[in-house]
Amino acid sequence: MNPWDTIYLGIKEIWAHKFRSMLTMLGIILGVSSLVAMSALVKGMENGMKEALVAMGGLEKVRVEFQDDLPAYQKHLTDQAPGLLMKDVFALQAGAPLVENITPIVEQHGYRTRINVTYQNKRARPWRLYGTWPGILELEDHRVRHGRMFTELDNEMARSVCVIGVELRNDLFGDPEKTGEEIIPIGKTIRINGQPFTIIGMFEHYMTEKERKELELERLRALENPQPGGVVRDKGRKGSGPSGYVFRLKNNSIFIPLQTMMIQFRAAAGLDETADPRLSGIYMKVRDINVLETALQQIRNVLLVSHGGIEDWSFRTEEDLADGIQLTIKNFRMSGVIIAAIALVVGGIGIMNIMLASISERIREIGIRKAVGATNADVFVQIIIESLVIAVVGGLLGLAVSVMLVNSITAFTPTENDPVVTVEAMLFAFSCSAMVGIVAGMIPALKASKLHPIQALKYD
């Protein structure tokens, strides 16, 4: 039998019961559209998380950090641990060709070490105060919006200059959201723990895609119906989702040259009131992500030599974060797939049900078809095709519905990460629907093809 005839026959049979077929398709439509919409949401979420990963400097970034908890077999050497020193930086520059942009960093927690930043009568507390080299700009994915980053010369001369994050400007000079004008405090002198520093640069305002959209939406609303006067008040910190921390941290940071840090804040900071030459960490970038393992081994070898075999450091890469993102995405995707699979199974049962009803009211027809020469296979294929046509048409409608669904989700929650409808998800969902059609048609088709022609003809 010609396959086109079979398909034509199937479409005709379904067209003869439009309403019934439509109801049956509904299950498949829901299954397919929920599968596509779910994967679109997860994709949007994934994009948001990847954004945070990039903001942290990407996967290539490797941090070597001091760690006084030595491996068990070296515990007795704890008091001899040298810590990370500038000589390690130079050793790495000379001996680890797989990494580049090796940047030492001294980091002070604003809250733990009580760093006060003041300007005239205003006070702010930065989250972090970093003393480092200009190379940090690339490593931490920082972008200077106003002024300039300090240079190697500033570092060499240990100048009292700083580059600040936007939040500190907001605290010390005023928030453009409240004052209505953007203050650029370049050239102003602030005091960090009482010591004067000149602001030579300010970073851009880092925010997540979500925050950006919220801001835009607020502006639009303000344009549409301007609030007349009144006291502008802070409504507390806005929730910015799980990926927001990185951005807030970057907005609340102050950067000064490493030498300045060492001289002004570390010269007498050790426990025994002597200068503390130890670095908090050495940041660097692997030249190629594919040689990450080798590069780590190279760093280890260099540091083992310069530390006299004492392993008083640890590696921090963003692999953990990346793995975490992968895991979260996997979980979301899994739950989405399970929901959609349930919907598809229900849809498939609907199809099977309707096909069973359909063949039992067409037993006589099947008998006639067999009497005039239809083989069992012809009958089997005919029923399968009918079920397949229902599923495929349902699948196509489901794809259309899924696009509408995603659009309406975007319309209802404009600030969330945009769901991204992918072609792969659509293809996958569509092939799932086709598969459901075939599987659901199997039992009815088998039942129909096994009918004995005489019994079928006698059936009323």
Partner: protein, 245 residues
């Protein structure tokens, strides 16, 4: 050689432990161009015989040849192919598909032989022409009278140019006048040289056919030429000897 050869055909049904011999050793030859009626009371096995002859069913034992092919050993798939190519059926209840129009109903056997669409409709129109219903091709079966429906069924049986035509009580569901018209159609087909087997319980109809087989309790009780029986019937048709083609 006979078109159909039955040798010692038996058909046994098992109904709740009880064994029923629907056919009990039937021997039968049907020649090309024969117009035979199978007659017998209900339950005599005449329908079973026709189902076996028509390859709708297989015998429990015995051998059967149709057009030189062994039927008793054929698979269900082969049987379906044989039904499609060599056999035409006309049923008591017409058995047309209500959702298809007349032409599509007639085309049905050709679909399963894989005949291309254009040739299908051409042959369907030819077959409808034979029964004089060409102008009803686009009608639904429900829009036709009983006699017209049965003629559509005959056209469907003829469309694949079968070697043998089976009719199971073709007039049973029609009034006597329409029944006559249908029988006339069969006689005409017989004159054109077709092989026809007609199952009936009505002796008057059976008397019309040149050959008559009487079945009783699953056995052939009488296999005689109707001419020899000399019975008069209410049907008055011109009768000619079948042309042997």
């Amino acid at each position: 050689m006979a078109l159909v050869e039955l040798r010692n055909i038996r058909k046994t049904y098992h109904l709740g432990g009880e064994v029923i011999h629907a056919l009990d050793g039937v021997n039968l030859d049907v020649d090309q161009g024969d117009f035979t009626s199978i007659i017998g009371p209900s339950g005599s096995g005449k329908s079973t015989l026709m189902h076996i002859l028509g390859c709708l069913d297989t015998p429990s034992s015995g051998s059967m040849k149709l057009d030189g092919m062994d039927i008793h050993t054929a698979s269900t798939r082969q049987l379906a192919k044989i039904r499609g190519e060599k056999i035409g059926f006309v049923f008591q209840f017409f058995n047309l598909l209500p959702k298809l129009n007349v032409a599509q109903n007639v085309e049905l056997p050709l679909i399963y032989q894989g005949t291309p669409g254009r040739e299908r409709s051409k042959r369907a129109m030819l077959a409808l022409d034979m029964v004089g219903l060409q102008d009803r091709a686009k009608h639904r079966p429900s829009q036709l009278s009983g006699g017209q429906q049965q003629r559509v069924a005959i056209a469907r049986a003829l469309v694949n140019d079968p070697r043998i035509l089976f009719a199971d009580e073709p007039t049973g569901n029609l009034d006597s006048h329409t029944g006559e018209l249908i029988l006339e159609t069969f006689c005409k087909l017989h004159e054109e040289g077709r092989t026809i087997m007609l199952v009936t319980h009505d002796p008057e109809i059976a008397a019309l056919t040149p050959k008559k087989i009487e079945i009783r309790d699953g056995k052939i009780a009488q296999d005689v030429d109707a001419k020899l029986s000399g019975k008069q019937t209410r049907f008055q048709f011109k009768r000619t000897t079948p042309s042997s083609s």
